[in-house]
């Protein structure tokens, strides 16, 4: 089955990548944008979806600096 894991920087940790994007958008004329954070999407085929949380904890993310969400398993 196909799984998707969303990885994002932990709240409160300085995210210069998100800030750079946030500064770039007004330059293109987009206004009213705030709180931009840049993360990562990992898609993977797995035979046993129950293993996903451990995969996330041990390799796919660093729990000290990142939060993850298993967004769908289809």
């Amino acid at each position: 089955m196909r799984a998707r894991v969303l990885v994002k920087p932990k709240a409160g940790i300085l995210d210069p990548q998100g800030q750079a994007v946030e500064r770039a958008l007004p330059a293109l004329g987009f206004t009213g944008v705030s709180n931009v954070h840049v993360g990562r999407l990992i898609e993977l085929d797995v035979q046993d979806a129950a293993q996903l949380p451990e995969m996330c904890e041990r390799l796919l993310t660093n729990p000290l600096i990142e939060d993850y969400q298993i967004v769908d398993v289809v």
Binding site: I13, L14, P16, Q17, A20, L59, L60, N62, L64, I65
Partner: protein, 225 residues
């Protein structure tokens, strides 16, 4: 004494590290795929881009076969030094506290910096004095040291912060200007600056040699950590 410097696919500073170690003792290269530390007295995890630094810096290298041996060696009190990418690998392996994040500037920094020795009573800094300034180069994109506030307080009060960027020299946005930290046991140390690139007057500074000299003196004493 004998140093062992690990070579991962993607390492690039292992030869400089080996040459720096050879100013203090013997030094051999350890292969990432071997479960063998060749009886070395100290392990150096060098700079570079281990396993391409895919996913996160150091995230894949920490699972290399040799790293299982390094973890065991560290648990037994063995001396482990991680430089730049090696620091990142040791953090990912949970042998050191914290993590390294992209520089605040989002740019690669490559310059000589001044760092201050915060704690000179460790196997890695004993050839220095407290407050001494060392001139050592940095070269990285992902060197912003991060740990949660309460961990930073504990690291500082426990004397685990060994090096700090001198005022105005923090090149990456590291919290509390931290340039290098050790573990609770004081036998594992990681730093972003490259002491192995500062051992010969030709390149402007020999201050980095003090790190290798400290390790040599510690091992020669045979004093348990």
């Amino acid at each position: 004494m004998k140093f062992g410097v690990i070579r991962f696919p993607g390492s690039c500073d292992e030869v400089d590290a080996q040459l720096a170690c050879q100013r203090a003792g013997e030094a051999v290269i350890l292969w990432h795929g071997d479960h063998d530390l060749q009886g070395v007295d100290a392990v150096v995890v060098p700079g570079g881009f281990s396993y391409g630094d895919y996913l996160r810096v150091g995230a894949i290298a920490r699972f290399a076969p040799v790293m299982e041996e390094v973890a065991e060696f560290a648990r037994e009190g063995g001396i482990v030094l991680g430089i730049c990418n090696g620091f990142q690998v040791l953090c990912e392996a949970r042998l050191l506290p914290g993590a390294l994040l992209p520089n605040t500037s989002l740019r690669f920094v490559f310059r000589q910096v001044k760092v201050e020795v915060v704690n000179a009573e460790t196997p890695f800094t004993r050839a220095c004095t407290d407050g001494q300034r060392l001139s050592i180069p940095v070269k990285h994109t992902t060197g912003r040291f991060y740990a949660p506030e309460h961990d930073l307080d504990r690291l500082e009060s426990d004397g685990q912060v060994l090096l700090r960027y001198a005022p105005g020299h923090n090149p990456n946005g590291s919290l509390r200007d931290i340039a290098g930290v050790c573990n609770e046991g004081r036998n594992v140390f990681g730093l972003m600056p490259h002491p192995e690139h500062a051992v010969d007057p030709l390149t402007g500074s020999t201050d980095g040699g003090k790190i290798f000299e400290s390790i040599r003196a510690h091992v020669a004493d045979g004093v348990p950590v």
